[in-house]
Amino acid sequence: MLKKVVCYLLALALLGVVGCSQQKVPENLTPPPAEESTGEPPIDRTWISPGKVMVGNFYPGARAEWNLTIHNGKDTPADFAVSYRVPDYVAEGFEKAPPEAQDWVIIADPTPVLAPKETKDILVFLDMPKTAKIESKKWEFWIAVMEQTGGMVVTEMCSRWLVSMR
């Protein structure tokens, strides 16, 4: 009788431990492999990174954050404007973010000034209120970086944020 009880209890304990170890396996934490990456970014060019940020299992009340890296490739200081942007196009299966999403995005430093060849991380937060209601399960917005050159023709580089709700 005692042996049976001991075996039963040990089996229970073993099952519990094995079960818990499976619960701890995180989902989707491995970044997908880079596509078309050609190594280190050029030091003498102005660039931003990453080109795409994927947010998964998002929900009202949740918060996500990622560093947007900006590099000034010029030999002179440069003023940049970092802003939320409605996307010009969206990924397949995604919709443009609702207008109120602009209020959920916080850019830690929206007007950074970079010294020559300086690289700077700008923290971008996506902070969705608990009370927010959103119809779309998959939506996209962009973070745009534009150098303030004063020219008639300007360039803008955009980082795409693709958000999947749980």
Partner: protein, 170 residues
């Protein structure tokens, strides 16, 4: 016998107790991932002066006047737009999103290194238009601009508007 049983039950409880918070955890935590890619474009020259234009004139640059130096590590889609709905300077011009000139109303078209009239893209304020789709990584490209001057002017003050080229991962 009872002592052994109590001991085993205690051991079992101790084994499972640290696991309880884990069991209570959600497995649907927010995940944030990004690929180590970068977007890099610059333009040169950064301006063009159409100089004195006549009413209803349609002066243009060559279709390769502006060079986009593209050092991006991934293929990109590039759109063109103007950043304001009006041209500044004196009596402002309205920018036509259909490139249809009118009194104090001007328009712009862009062409990516081709022939004017073939594959021209209207430069809009409200909706950026794709000028270079799926542009290969680290591949430069060129474009030009054509002005559609107003059919009549209210003043002779110089006007200007900012044209924006936007690049994002394809």
């Amino acid at each position: 016998m009872r002592r052994i049983l109590v001991g085993l039950l205690l051991a079992l409880a101790l084994t499972l107790m640290p696991a309880l918070p884990v069991l209570a955890e959600t497995t649907a935590d927010v995940t944030v991932t990004a690929t180590p890619t970068y977007i890099a474009i610059t333009v040169a020259p950064t301006s063009y002066d159409f100089e004195v234009v006549a009413e209803s004139a349609t002066p243009s640059t060559t279709t390769s006047h502006f060079t986009i130096t593209n050092s991006s590590s991934v293929s990109t889609n590039n759109t063109v737009s103007v950043t304001t709905a009006t041209w500044s300077g004196g009596v402002t011009w309205t920018h036509s999103d259909t490139a249809t000139p009118d009194a104090d109303t001007a328009g712009l078209k862009a062409n990516k290194g081709g022939t004017w009239g073939e594959g021209d893209v209207i430069v809009q304020y409200t909706t950026p238009q794709v000028l270079a789709a799926d542009q290969a990584a680290t591949t430069n490209w060129n474009f030009g601009l054509k002005l559609f001057a107003p059919t009549s002017f209210s003043d002779g003050v110089e006007k200007s508007i900012i044209v924006r080229i936007s690049a994002a991962a394809a």
